[in-house]
Assembly symmetry: C3
Homo-oligomer: 131 residues x 3
Amino acid sequence: MKEFSISTNKKRQMIDVTDNINKALEEMRAEDGICQLMLMHTTAAITVMEAIEENGSDLLDALDSLVPRLKYRHDSDPEHPKSHIMSSIIGASKSIPVKGGALYLGTWQRVALLEFDGPRERTVQASFIKG
Amino acid sequence: MKEFSISTNKKRQMIDVTDNINKALEEMRAEDGICQLMLMHTTAAITVMEAIEENGSDLLDALDSLVPRLKYRHDSDPEHPKSHIMSSIIGASKSIPVKGGALYLGTWQRVALLEFDGPRERTVQASFIKG
Amino acid sequence: MKEFSISTNKKRQMIDVTDNINKALEEMRAEDGICQLMLMHTTAAITVMEAIEENGSDLLDALDSLVPRLKYRHDSDPEHPKSHIMSSIIGASKSIPVKGGALYLGTWQRVALLEFDGPRERTVQASFIKG
């Protein structure tokens, strides 16, 4: 079990964390199995995507647009509750196969952290489970 | 592998099941690894969230508002198909890291069952996988 | 670790892949544990649902309707970026419990591949982790 931190510097942001996870897998001497990822926060998420900047902006814009601006109870400012809702829609935990000590992903796939309420310091926890 | 039941008492409801899962982990004599959760139903879901009541209501309202009221095929009443769609958006299975025999979560994180078509009796299945 | 391919033949499509996964589990001589599924693509997804055709069409229609048609950066045609966004909302990786060598699902649950940008050849990777 390894943890690493990511500093986000915008309110909403997509950050490719694939290399951070592969480094954690190397430190855990992972071989074949699965990597369980857990983002320890409720206003951010983890997804698998083609993590180029334009796709990150498209996804963040789409989420902002699709989550309605209701009269939320959690906060009079609808923006903060929206970040919680986006986090539940995308999810804070993901499992990814590991092969030869590294994440086993498709050609265009990367693992990305989505910040919905930054800038903040975010912690990602990675576990390796032998297959 | 342990199962527990949750009785929901509203049409849509958020119920914190973190303590139920930790009890199941204790019964399985879990130590470090991951907990695989599976909700055995297609009109409810499991999420990781700050499971206070106002956040639950906000999330359920947002999902109700963002899933469109289309002319669905599955049922002439659009409410029942909507509960299936919400279930696929949030997801019925989640993996969470386990440390020292209990779920390893961030400060504000809890595991919650989301009921979209209650009241019903819901079954959650928890597996422990050694890390 | 086993892979199998699915050929989709429509732009958007739901395909029940439960039998394919159970066959892969049998080939891996799985017993009790979890099955980690990874769809190796960024414009498709995997979900657990009641995988009858009308539900598939309902879900695909709802996703099409809820993801906004914005002026996306990734492509001047908003349809292609939408398929990426749907993939992140539903997710490309899922873990499912395995009991007696087969997926352990609720009465109405099946595992389905959702195609958002077909027709294409899609690869699903399945790992078995002993519980």
